[in-house]
Every structure is written in C-alpha cells, then in structure tokens.
C-alpha cells in the first residue's frame, strides 16, 4: 500500500535564474521576505548567499501555501540537504586562522562552518519550532532530506515539513572535485529549492502542486537499480506505469539505462538542467517534473539521482492532486 505525500508548494531561488525571470530578482525577493519575517524590531541577519537563497525559497514555499510567518509553533519541521554549500565559508575561516592565528578566528563566521546553520537560520527567521534536521549526502543531500521529511509525515511525527536542498557552489569546490577525479561540471552560484510537504490525509486539504508517490535510496554496486526498485515498490507502482525519467545528477547514462531498464522501466529519459546544483539538484529536478506536469498529463515521473560516495536515490512524483 502506498502512502503518497502532498507537495503543497514550491520555493526556488537560484543565482542563475530558472528561466522564469528570476535573474536579478533575488535581492528584491530577499528584501520582501526579510521585511515580513523581521519582528519585534529585530533584524534577521544573513551572512552568506546560501542563507539568502534558502530563506527566499523557504519563505516563498510557505507563502504560496498560505502559511503566515513567523509561525511560532511546532507544526512545521525543517529537513534540509546541505553539504558542499558551506565548504567555501569553512575554507575561508580556516585560512584566516592559518594567517593570523587565534586573532583570525571570527566568532561571527565560525557558526557558519557547520551545515545545520542554514536550516537553523530558516527556523529562526520563520520561527519554525518543529523537527529540524540537516542531511549531508553530496549530490543526494536534498534527496536524503526529502526522504527524512517523508518519513516524518508518513509516520505522523510531523504535520508538515519544509524540505529540500541548498548549495553554494564555489570555484574552489569545483577545482577540488576536478582534482580528485570526480565528475566535472557546474558553475559558481547559489541555489535552494524547498517544498512544503504534508501527509496525504492531513486535515488541510487545500490545493497542491503535486505528490511524491514513493521514495527510496540505496548504496553499493547496484545502487541505482536498488533505489529505483525500492522506490517503485514504495509507490506501489508497476515499472510500466512510469511515463518519464528525469536524471538529477551527472550519472553515467549507460549505468542509468542498464539499471532503470533492468527493473522494467521503459520510458523516455533525460537529464535535468539542474543536475549541477549538487545538494539542491534532486529537489530542483522534482520541481521540474512537477512543473512540467502542470502543463501536461499528470502521470508519474521517476526522478533519479546519484552521488559518487553515497549511492543513489529515486522518487516517483506526479503533478497536481490525487
């Protein structure tokens, strides 16, 4: 039996725009969000682009769902995927230590060297007091966060979750990835993609952007095949019911074809243009699949992602309501 999760709304912020006229508009969107969430005369201070992008995306997802912020309750939790997005801050912080010793240690910058700071900023700015978790899975960070949010909702531990991924891709990170022989691609910039998710049977039965029908992850020699197989099982779907496949990472196409066809999925496949947004790539691909469905048939799309260290993840999503 499947337990779909309702994807109520989507918030996206990217420094390269997303084709929807966002370029150049981030400052205005940030200013708008900050004017609403700053309260009691207190300013919400953000120190880095990843925090700004995440706040914009979070604020938009909640606004589009009709949630007034600051919230001030435990009703909504946060599950965010962040990993490489803090590496630039960490490297810069440590360089100052190497250069100036203890005097180089900034008490303002230091807290930003941990990935959970981004989710924490969101919880503080929007006064979200529910469950809070940060997942680090490289290119799968956002997928792992979605997985944890789905667990919390399906098991009734949270009534709503703000979930997704965020990154800040810096030149030094791209150079390092290249140096260790990882895949090469992407350009510097920040991106965040968050969804407001609710359990299928939750009392608030307003409009929804889509549904996540199933999700799974796997690691090891057959990671993609195992993740896809378990995901379809989770969604209670036959492989033949999948109408399209969207690839959310720089996965070798041969591996993908072998793995996906190996479990019986026979549907057109293509790579998401968001595949280079690392921790945010999987949620961005989910958003893309949902967005396409809004203009076309609402049939299941399989979103597949992978990471060079921690395996693969798959989700089956569908635009619109039930």
């Amino acid at each position: 039996m499947s337990h779909p999760v309702r994807l109520v709304s989507i918030g996206i912020a990217r420094t390269d725009g997303d084709g929807a006229g966002e370029t150049g508009g981030l400052a205005g969107r940030l200013s708008g969000a900050l004017s609403v969430v700053s309260r009691d005369g207190a300013q919400v201070r953000l120190a880095h682009g990843i925090e700004e992008a995440t706040l914009i995306a979070a604020y938009d997802a909640l606004r589009l769902a009709g949630v007034r912020t600051p919230l001030g309750t435990e009703e909504i939790g946060v599950a965010l995927g962040v990993e490489e997005g803090i590496d630039g801050i960490k490297a810069q912080y440590y360089r100052e230590i190497v250069k100036d010793g203890p005097l180089g240690a900034s008490p303002i910058v230091f807290p930003l060297t941990t990935p959970n700071t981004v989710a924490a900023r969101i919880s503080i700015a929007l006064d979200l007091r529910g469950e809070i978790v940060t997942m680090c899975g490289g290119t799968l960070s956002g997928a792992h966060a979605l997985g944890r949010a789905m667990e919390a909702l399906r098991e009734g531990r949270s009534s709503a979750m703000l979930a997704g991924g965020a990154t800040s891709v810096e030149r030094e990170f791209l150079d390092a990835v290249s140096l260790v022989g990882g895949f090469e691609g992407g350009a510097p910039g920040c991106a965040a993609c968050l969804f407001l998710l609710r359990a299928q049977g939750s009392a608030d039965a307003g409009s929804v952007a889509g549904q996540i029908l199933g999700y799974s992850e796997a690691v090891g020699a057959h990671d993609v095949r195992d993740a896809v197989e378990a995901c379809l099982q989770d969604a209670a779907l036959a492989p033949s019911q999948v109408r399209s496949v969207l690839v959310a990472s720089a996965l070798d196409p041969r591996v993908l074809v072998e793995s996906v066809c190996g479990v019986g999925v026979d549907a057109p496949m293509r790579r998401s243009p968001s595949a280079w947004w690392y921790s945010a790539s999987f949620p961005l691909a989910v958003a893309e699949a949902i967005g396409q469905a809004a203009d076309g048939p609402r049939e299941p799309t399989l979103v597949v992602g992978s990471d060079c260290l921690v395996g693969a993840a798959a989700a089956v999503v569908r635009g619109g309501g039930c």
């Binding site: 230091f110 990935p115 395996g311």
Partner: protein, 400 residues
Amino acid sequence: MAETVVVTGLGVVSPLNPEGDLERFWASLCAGDTALCEVHSFDTSRYPCHVAAEIDRDRLGVSGAAEAPAWRMAELACDQALTHAAARCTFEPRRAGIVVGTVLGGTTMGERYIRAENRERGREVAALTQYPLRAVAALLARKTGYSGCALTVSTACASGTDAIGLASRRIASGRADLMIAGGVDAVCELSFSGFAALKALTTDKVRPFSRNRTGLALGEGAAFLILEAAQAAARRGASVLGEIAGYASRADAVHLTAPHREGRGLAAAAAAALRDGGCRPDAIDYVSAHGTGTPYNDAMETLALKTVLGNHAHRVAISSIKGALGHAFGAAGAIEAATCLLAMRDGIIPPTINLEESDPACDLDFVPNRARRTTVRAALSLSAGFGGQNAALAIRAPAP
C-alpha cells in the same frame, strides 16, 4: 503497528578507551576518570586554552598516516559494535544501512589541504577524498557491505542522537532489519579556534552544573549502536541491551549560538520523545544530560528538565559525562546513548565529575562526583547544539 527497536550491540572509541574496549570505557567513566589533558594534535601556544580530551594518534594508528582520525575511530567503533552484536553476515544487505552523525567529518584533512596548498597541494589530493562529511558513512557502507542507505546527519552537537533516532525510525517502520547508527568527530584546530573565539572553552577542567563552571572542552571519539527489530533480534537469539522507545527533535528558533534561556526546544524534544516512546515522565530513572559545563547550557537544561518532568525532576538521577570526555560533538549523543544502555545493564549511574559547588540555577540531583548504584528501567538522553538543535531519545531497559 510499529516494530519495537532494540539495541543489540555497542561500540565506543573514546579517549578513555582508544582501542575500543567497551568495558574499559565503562569502568573508567564510573570511576570518575577524566581524559582531559594538553592538546597534542596541533599547536595551541597562541590560544588562551590548551586542554581537550584527545585520543593518542599513535594508539589510533593514524600517526603520520594519510588517514583522517575520524575515519579510524568510526571504523573501529563500528567494528566493535558489530562484534558485540554478533551480527555480521546475518542480514540481507539491502535491508541494512548506516546513519552517521558528524559535525566535522574529515575536517582535519581539509586543514591539511589548505595548509599545503601553496607548496605541495598535489600530494594532499588523497586528503580531500576523506574530507566530505558523508565520506565516513560511505566508508562504513563499503566496509560492511550494507546497501540499504548510507546517510549522514549533521545537526551540530545533536548529530549522534539524531542519527540514532532517524535510524530507529527506519526499523520501526519496517524499512530495515538492521541499522548501524551513531556518531564520530575528531578534535581539530578549526573547531578549537571557533569555540575559543566564542570564549566557550575552559582553561582547566569541565565542571557541568557546578556554580564555578567555566566552559566546555573539546573531545573526540566515535560510538555506534546496532539497532534491530525486536522480533528479528529474538529470532537470531541476540542479546538485547535496551530499546530505543522514542525519539524527537525540535528547534529553539531563537539564536544561532545560544540556547533558548528556558530550554524551550530541549523541553519540547524531550516531551515529544517521551510521548513517542509511550513513557510517563515519572518512569524515567536516569537522564544523561547534555551538560556541557557552559553557564547557559546547564542552566537552561535544568529548566527544561523541570518543564518536562515536573516534580519528578527533583527525584530523578541526572549526570553529564562531559567532565570525563569533553564534548565530542557528533559523537557525544551516541556515546551518551551507549552510557544509558550500560547504566541499565549494570545498574550504575556514572557521576558528574568536577561538580564542586552547588548552583541555585542547577538544583537537581546531578549524581556529583561518585557513581551511584540504582536500577535504571528507563532513561532519557538529551542533546542540544548550535542553531537551536535539540534532540532526545527515550531508552527502555529490556524486559526481564
């Protein structure tokens, strides 16, 4: 109907037991030993503080080697836990997985890379492969062959607790038969400098809940628990150390580095974990406190416990082991969960060492300085961290 989640194995590597001998760890903790000493892994001469609880790199087998200390600690603790549970090769790999809590991962290797960048950067490429936070989980997945998942949770000082909680959910929902869950972190200059800049480090010893407390000390280590569904553990005749009955996480939503002064988030997490586990507050016999030894943490934790446990807060035994081990960040919550299980096993509560002066703001029973013999049927393990992260585990002793 959710599966009951039981713990069938423990592995702990700490400065009190660098080789991973669990009984040595427990005996030292109960004896009131401390592992705090002068920092050896980097030069602290320019800092105002010089103490931490470190594991001798030679004894860890990573001295001069191109291996992150966190990798070695995690590998050793994971291996010990699997041996303790006698759980090797008995599970379908796709139904078994890993959840690692870490704040720093291979940061020591990132430090090496940055220090070397203008000279021999090319030679430090291997260090980079061990730097990512998720690399430890990937390593353990490779070593064990478990292929269900390799997840990394990073929720500051609550990481280890959250890792155990998230893994237990996977078993409870029937999506896994076995999970290896815990945490790891190694002392490094990046974190030392940061806490020094925040003036949070003690210059001599950690005194949790004492009026003269002066701050925390960095610690390091790794701890992993083997979690299984109770029925599956019974079928294979595994010894059960306890049950992860409940888990919850909650955000303070107030400040990036300071806790809510009244412990709002911690109280909410603890209350939710008790509800999740079907535990009455007055059934708790022991609380493993976060107890960092900083003025704000210990005062807010006292208030949080009063909020959650009511009058029972004055009767329950509470202790912090950070005077002995320092603060091992991502590993702390997992080491403390292991402490709760060992307390249940032996009926001994380890002491809060260095509790020298009673503090009116910390007026509960913190088991000062000497271990106490008592029956522990249920325990709460609490963690709180930067960003207003709070997590709690409700742990129950196995049925007699």
